[in-house]
Every structure is written in C-alpha cells, then in structure tokens.
Amino acid sequence: MNDIIDLSFLQVGLAYIFVLLVIAIVRIRGIRREREIVISSVRMTLQLVLVGYILVYVFDNPNPLATVAIVVVMVVFAIYTILNRFKGNMSSALGWVVVFSMSFGTLSCIAYFLVVVVRVSPWYEPQYVVPVAGMLIGNSMTGISLGVHSLLDGMTTRRHIVEEALLLGATPRAATREIINNTFDAAIMPTINSMIGMGIVFLPGMMTGQILSGTVPTTAIAYQIAIMLGILGAVALTIITMLQLGCRTFFNKEDQLR
C-alpha cells in the first residue's frame, strides 16, 4: 500500500472551487442561500481545523477524562442543534425527551460498540472512541431531527384522528400508534437506504478514510459493516425512546390532548 498523499494548503484551497460553483448557481437561480453557504463552509473549515489540533493532542496524550469530555461535548452539541432547530415549535417537555433519548440512545450504543464489538483497550482509547461516537451521534441527530419533525407534523395534521380515537375510548398510546409508526419509519428510512446503497452507490466516509490512510480494504469493510449496524441500532434506539416518551407530552394527565 502506498502512503497517503499529504494535502498542501493550496490543494485544499482548490477544493473551495466547489463552494464558488454552488454560490454561482444559487445567485443565478435567485435562491437566497449565499449567506448560509458561506457561513457553513467557513464554520466547517474552522471547526475541523480546531478539532484536528485537539485530536492530535488527545491522541498523543490518551486520558479517560478527555475522551469522556469529547463525547459529552458531541452529545451536548447534537442536542443543542436539535433543540435550536425546533425552537418555538416544541414543548419544553418534548425538549427534555429529546435530551434524554439522545443521551440514552447514543451513549448506550457507543458503550456496547466499543466494549463488546471492537473491544478497545484501554476503553478510552480516543483513536476509536472519538470517530465511533461521532458517527453514532451524528446519525442519531439526523434521525431524531426527522423524527421530531414528523411527530410534530403528524400531531398537527392528524390531530382530529387522534381526537376521534380518544372520543371512542382509545388510550393516548393507541390513538397515536399510527403517527408513531409513520414517524419511526420516516426517521429510520435514510439509514436503511444508505445500507442498501452501501458499497455500490457510495463508499462510506469511514471506509474511504481508512482505505486512504493505508488500511487493507477488507479490514476497512469489516469496520464499516460493524459501524453501519451500530448506527442502525443507535438511530433506532434514539428514535423509539423519543417517540415512546414524546407522544405522552401531547397529553395531560387526564389523557386529554393539550
């Protein structure tokens, strides 16, 4: 295997031509998104540069506290992003449900993945913990965002159906069953689709990264399969926890719709 080609500043700079291209497109089409594109590109760059330096330091000085801190920061940031996105549309009770399900769903799957599947030793080895945590948390964040969106939408557009079910003597759980199932489906679908296309339509990021850095493709693939299943589990667990607890927040203790 060849050693990886180091990218110079100039080479990375050349990749920004894609940003210019996108800006040109939205300009011409009159889609007002220039600001967001510029901000997100700059943010992405700064965040990654910063993380790069932090990771270099952390990898050189493995420390359980530092590893845990990084995972906590990731979870907190993911939760903050979700809450911020639905600010004003979501009750504070549902907000707390998001906090709990994100923490519970991702942390339990990360622990299982590292301790039981990969068997990392020592358990806080940042080279493993950080990327695995990142992938599970990132995908769960996307899943729960889709889930909250679909749940809020379902409870608004199908409110009369829930109401009618209650009138007929349904429990809140039975009355929202269909909405919950549809929401779960909507939120888990991207993960399922990506598993279907995996290896054919696209080579996933982690595998590409490992191959680029010189890992034998078969090892990279073994990791990719395991992480994909881990992602599936984390996304599913996060969403179902959010839905099971979240649907209750639309009712008061008298089983009436709020």
Partner: protein, 214 residues
C-alpha cells in the same frame, strides 16, 4: 346520571346546576357557539371544567380514569374521522381502541343495515359521502355498546328522511337496551319528537329545560 354543579369552562360555559337523567333522550339545542358541543366533550372527559364539578353516577369525574370513562360514555363527533382503508377497518376501529374483540362480518353487516348503509365491507371508506361517513361512524359507536351515547349533530349531513330513520333506530335501540342518549341537534322538530328532555342553551348558559315525553 350526570350532575353539573357550578361548572364553568373559561368564558364558554357557565352552568350553575344541571342534571341529566339516565335512560332518557336529552337534546341540547341552541344557536352555534352556545357551548353545546363543549358540554358533550366535558361529559366524555375530553375537556375538564375550569371550575365546578361533574358527577357521573354520583362520582366526581376528576376521580375517574378518563379512558375507562370514555369507554362507557362514547361520543360521536360532528365530522367523524375515517380510520384505515375499508368500511370494515372503520367498524373495527372503535373495538380495537377499546381493546375488545372484533365483531364477525355478519354482525358488521347487520349494523350497516341498521344505519341504512348498503355498501360492501371492503369498500373504500374514504370514498363515502359526508352523510354516509356519519352513519358509518354511528354504526362504529353502536358496536361499542356504551351506556351513554353523546351525539353531536348526528343528522347534520343527512337528508330529512335518512335523519328520521337514524333517530328512530337510535331511540328504539336506546329504549330496548336501557341506554342514555345525550345529543346536540339544531333541529327543533327532531328534538321535540325524540327527546324526553330538551335543554336550550345560549351564550354558554342553560336557558330552559323542558320535559317533553316522560
């Protein structure tokens, strides 16, 4: 059966004292916005009074489990929802919600005949007209066999003839089985013809309570 004592619901209802008796047909009439539907929703515990209390068979509704109560006191809304796909799905929906066994097709067909719907159980319920949906929803409620029927304008989407057929069927069914009916209706004539008691409402207050037939 129901006793409303000092019941208020925001500025919508103000009912110092109202009694609704068992095994009778009670009609609530009055202009729209007079709080009739809110009364039904309160009796079904879909909403709770902001002050005052409602007794059901002598027990304060606040002490009663809402879901268990709604299974005894079922409400038919004015614009009923359609569940699932077929007519069969819709007739089964209520039973499933109440965790009861689904009825056999023969019982469903008989119920359809009772409400004057001549359709196949496999027909798409979403294609029914407003009046047909209303009768389908009524059939769904009768299958649940509750003690109390709360009916919100049960004939609003029906022509006069079908409306009469439905009222005849309902009142006969209630009398034969010792059921209580509390209904909201805009039709003064229907109220006169079918009720034991008519409660006239306006501006959230009970203006008059007439006994019609004992």
């Amino acid at each position: 059966m129901f006793e409303l004592i000092g019941v208020r619901y925001g500025s919508i209802l103000d009912l110092p004292n109202l009694e609704i008796r068992e095994k009778q047909v009670t009609s609530l009439t009055g202009p729209s916005g007079s709080g009739k539907t809110s009364v039904l929703r309160m009796l079904n515990k879909m909403i709770s009074p902001t002050s005052g209390q409602i007794l059901f068979r002598g027990v304060d509704l606040r002490e009663v489990d809402s879901v268990a109560h709604r299974r005894k006191v079922v409400m038919l809304s004015q614009e009923p929802a359609v569940f699932g796909k077929t007519i069969r799905d819709n007739l089964h929906a209520g039973l499933l919600f109440q965790e009861k066994k689904p009825s056999p097709d023969s019982a469903l067909k008989e119920m359809m005949k009772k409400v004057g719907l001549e359709k196949s159980l496999d027909d798409d319920a979403h294609r029914l007209s407003g009046g047909e949906r209303q009768r389908l929803a009524l059939a769904r409620v009768i299958l649940l066999d509750p003690d109390v029927y709360l009916l919100d304008e049960p004939s609003s989407a029906l022509d006069e003839e079908t409306g009469q057929l439905i009222f005849d069927m309902l009142t006969t069914h209630a009398k034969a089985n010792g059921k209580t009916i509390i209904m909201v209706t805009h039709s003064r004539a229907a109220a006169q013809k079918y009720s034991n008691v008519i409660i006239e409402m306006n501006g959230g207050k009970c203006m008059k309570k007439d006994s019609v037939h004992e």
